[in-house]
């Protein structure tokens, strides 16, 4: 899974597994779990920022995969993107049922410190697209950039971000929305 040359084969076999899962093949489902649980748990752990919650969500993610694998369309997204998006979505759904998170420390929106940007991507499926996203993100004003990243990786709401940044809710919304539209314009000129 981690070596680059084997990536396409690994991705193809994930897609084959998804097809089998859609047909109700339990053994394929177990293999899918073994191949993807680490990645998806990594997503849950970071977004939920709490182990027990992350484990709960991971269970939910895989039960959803079992029931909805047929909705996966290999022509539209890679299996790993589909699964990762689903996992992150489930995390955010879960977070919204929990109290607002105020325990997080304040967030500094340093005006000139650059974000780390994309790490050396192990998921090559996302490499070229990832480079584009990173480049477009670089073009954003640093404040917008770090807010959007913080929202993506931490699953924060506007309100939580406003508390953490100690800025008016309206400003936070406006920064993020402008950033998103700018991002879209850059990705799809």
């Amino acid at each position: 899974m981690s070596d680059v040359s084997g990536h396409n084969a690994a991705a193809a076999s994930l897609e084959a597994l998804m097809a089998q899962v859609a047909l109700g093949n339990r053994a394929a489902f177990e293999t899918l779990y073994r191949s993807t649980a680490d990645k998806l748990f990594g997503i849950c752990l970071r977004v939920m920022n709490q182990r027990a919650e992350a484990e709960e969500v991971l269970q939910e993610v895989f039960t959803t995969v079992w029931h909805k694998a047929a909705q996966f369309d290999a022509g539209k997204a890679g299996a790993m993107s589909w699964l990762g998006t689903l996992a992150r979505n489930k995390c955010i759904d879960r977070l919204r049922t929990l109290p607002l998170r105020t325990a997080f420390g304040p967030l500094e929106l340093a005006a000139e410190v650059a974000d780390p940007g994309t790490s050396p991507a192990q998921q090559v499926e996302m490499l070229t697209e990832g480079a584009r996203l990173a480049r477009c993100l670089e073009e954003l004003e640093p404040r917008r950039r770090s807010l959007i990243r913080e929202a993506f990786f931490g699953g924060f709401t506007y309100e939580e971000l406003a508390t953490r940044v100690q800025a008016p809710l309206g400003s936070i919304k406006s920064w993020i929305r402008r950033g998103l539209l700018q991002l879209r314009a850059c990705l799809e000129p």
Binding site: S13, Q20, N89, T118, S119, M126, T157, Y158, L180
Partner: protein, 255 residues
């Protein structure tokens, strides 16, 4: 598309304009909406295909970031809990011997999965058949029905699946994707006929299926009683005359 200059707070005033939908879809995907707004937006995914399409496009735009999440191994119990949620287990997980049976179950399940996968992989681009095509109208089934030999690790979990075709002298190898050896060794496949020494069939992949051609003088060994084994060997000099590294997976040939 143009960037609408929105007043920060009152998007509701012109809630039907497409740019608003575009932003709402982005906010939904990014996850910044509060509980009630998120629910309302999710409900629109169901009822409004255009809106749903916007959301999918935003998912695709942001998906590259998913690569940045560091993998982390979930505790083993999670898998058991998933099975329970799906109603696949009736006995309570605290029953004695549970781990043992889970391992056995997994081994059995893995074999079935890869048998299915092997069939799936072998079917669509059916290998060219030497026989006349006219009488081969239903020939696909014959290829699909080959028994699968599991090359299992010591703990019983499958490492590779092999589908032996004696008549063609080939072995289709389907790996359960695994990490490369830390010491840089590569897996080498061996066939061991009863009472004979191992014969190398060359290197096999750890993550993609491929067909191994068996040298004509070794094809006799492709039968019941023979064993397929995989050892970790230095990459240079393959096929080796004899194995020198540890056996990482093996299984008796099923034909």
């Amino acid at each position: 598309m143009s960037t609408p200059s929105l007043p920060p707070e009152d998007r509701g005033a012109s809630a039907t304009e497409p740019p608003d939908d575009e932003l709402l879809a982005a906010e939904l995907v990014l996850g910044v909406l509060g509980t009630a707004e998120r629910r309302a937006a999710q409900a629109r995914l169901e009822s409004d295909p255009q809106f749903a399409a916007r959301a999918v496009r935003w998912e695709r735009r942001l998906a590259p970031w998913l690569a940045e999440f560091e993998p982390a191994a979930p505790p083993p119990l999670v898998w058991a809990q998933i099975r329970q949620r799906l109603g696949w287990r009736t006995e309570p997980p605290s029953a004695p011997g549970w781990w043992h049976s889970l391992v056995l179950w997994r081994a059995a399940a893995g074999v079935a999965a890869f048998a299915a996968l092997a069939l799936w992989l072998t079917r669509p681009p059916a290998p060219p058949r030497p026989s006349p095509p006219v009488v081969q109208a239903a020939g696909g089934e014959a290829a699909a029905a080959k028994p699968v030999t599991t090359l299992a690790h010591d703990d019983g979990t499958p490492g590779w699946l092999a589908s032996v075709d004696r008549s063609r002298g080939t072995v289709l190898m389907v790996p359960v994707p695994s990490a490369p050896d830390a010491q840089g060794r590569v897996p080498e496949l061996w066939i061991i006929a009863p009472g004979q020494s191992p014969r190398s069939l060359g290197q096999v992949s750890i993550n993609k299926s491929h067909t191994v051609a068996v040298p004509p003088d070794a094809r006799m060994a492709l039968g019941p009683g023979s064993v397929l084994a995989i050892t970790l060997e230095p990459a240079s000099g393959i096929p080796h005359a004899r194995p020198s590294g540890p056996v990482v997976a093996k299984g008796a040939i099923q034909t």
